[in-house]
Amino acid sequence: DTAVSQTPKYLVTQMGNDKSIKCEQNLGHDTMYWYKQDSKKFLKIMFSYNNKELIINETVPNRFSPKSPDKAHLNLHINSLELGDSAVYFCASSPRLASGTSTGELFFGEGSRLTVL
């Protein structure tokens, strides 16, 4: 019973293509995230959704568009892929929105490795 599952695990594509990564969580959490981990292993937040509402959009190019059809799903669509988009993309969820006073430990998926040629 996978808690946070994302597909596909591997994605190899050409520059200029459009691709999507899907994420689903069965933990009943209110908040979901997309993180990008680059070749230097630095994990950087991209988007945060709480109850299907966009909370954070961290200076991500407009080519990246998240979609949350319901609380359990957060998909990531990427248009006009560029070489620099190559990375591992992690979906995560937390019981509540992390804030200065409210803890929100994250549960991560296994990652989707995107390679743009």
Binding site: V4, A92, S99, G100, T101, G104, E105, G111
Partner: protein
């Protein structure tokens, strides 16, 4: 601007010894700090959370300390085992932000038998 730093990129120790990893932060006073473990090819896994009013937190062989004066958290693994080899990440919520949990770059721990 707010920064979170894990000074050591890599730490090599002998099995049975205590591993100590450091996480420093600047320009901020977080209410809590989290530690995660990441194995190669896997997503990070939550380990421990420590609040600002807690000096120390333990879980089995793991111990985390939080010094708000030094703006530092230490993560200890006692009686380390080769299976503890992984990258360990610290994380905290960006000041004035909701849902923005930022991570340090991680320390890769290698425990040699």
């Amino acid at each position: 601007s707010q920064k979170i730093e894990q000074n050591s990129e890599a730490l090599n120790i002998q099995e049975g010894k205590t591993a100590t990893l450091t996480c420093n932060y600047t320009n901020y006073s977080p209410a809590y700090l989290q530690w995660y473990r990441q194995d190669p090819g896997r997503g990070p896994v939550f380990l421990l959370l420590i609040r600002e009013n807690e000096k120390e937190k333990r879980k089995e062989r793991l111990k985390v300390t939080f010094d708000t004066t030094l703006k530092q958290s230490l993560f200890h693994i006692t009686a380390s085992q080769p299976a503890d080899s992984a990258t360990y990440l610290c994380a905290l919520v960006r000041e004035g932000s909701q849902g923005n949990l930022i991570f340090g770059k991680g320390t890769k721990l290698s425990v040699k038998p």
